[in-house]
Amino acid sequence: MDQQFTLTKEVRGECLIVTTSGYINNVGGEAIASECGAHFANGIQDVILNLEYSKVVNSIGMSYIIEIIERLQETGGTLVFTNLDAAVEKMLSIMGLFKYARKEATVADALSALGRKGVGHESR
């Protein structure tokens, strides 16, 4: 399994979709937070974090995700995790992240859920 961290991003309206690959440790977590931070300045309201290709994460990496949740709370935005490996999902649950973030099976589901929230990210 290649654990080299990379991320890709896509903006849909006011929603940033970040898809990661590889190990999310302090370096990966910081990269995600930095990417989100850059987009918050451009009016991004919600973040979808697709972890389909990240089967190994550590809690230091996740501490950066808590920063993102904190920032989104300030603006009424939402973080949605998608495509979670069962073990990663359990880890995030133990950390209590789902009290302040959502989870959906897929990015499409997350976009739909955010749309229902009234944010309206779907393409016209």
Partner: protein
């Protein structure tokens, strides 16, 4: 089946331990989804140990004993030790708004394992984790 490693403090070295775990598991015919939580445990245990390993030497000793039923993970550092009872249980609500968002390692290792033991003193810290591979 047993694997012993001595890991130096270099970035991402915990991935070597995880790779070793995965290879042992594959050799024993254990499905990848059964080792998912063990991967997280190894990442937490090794990262935590390396952070507190001290400099004499800046290494941690890792040992896996793997059967088709369970994995036993042993991680030892030679740091200055700490009092596990004095470590506060982290809480997400408290972390939000706090400058320190870290400190989840012990909670995760206790919660994800089927048996968790820690011994710590001035000569270092040893963590033993038993994880059933259901």
């Amino acid at each position: 089946m047993r694997l012993h490693l001595t890991l130096p403090r270099i970035p991402d070295i915990e991935l070597v331990a995880i790779e070793g775990l995965e290879r042992l598991a594959r050799h024993l015919g254990i499905a990848d989804d059964k080792v998912g939580e063990a991967r997280i445990l190894v990442a937490e245990a090794v990262t935590n140990a390396l952070e507190h390993a001290g400099d004499t030497p800046p290494t941690v000793r890792v040992e896996f004993t793997l059967t088709t039923e369970e994995i036993v993970i042993f991680v030892q550092d030679r740091g200055k030790g700490f009092d596990p009872a004095a470590v506060e249980d982290p809480d997400i609500t408290g972390k939000l708004g706090s400058s320190n968002k870290r400190g989840w390692g012990l909670k995760l290792m206790k919660s994800l394992s089927d048996d968790f033991r820690i011994e710590s003193g001035s000569q270092g810290t040893t963590i033993s984790i038993r994880k059933l591979l259901r």
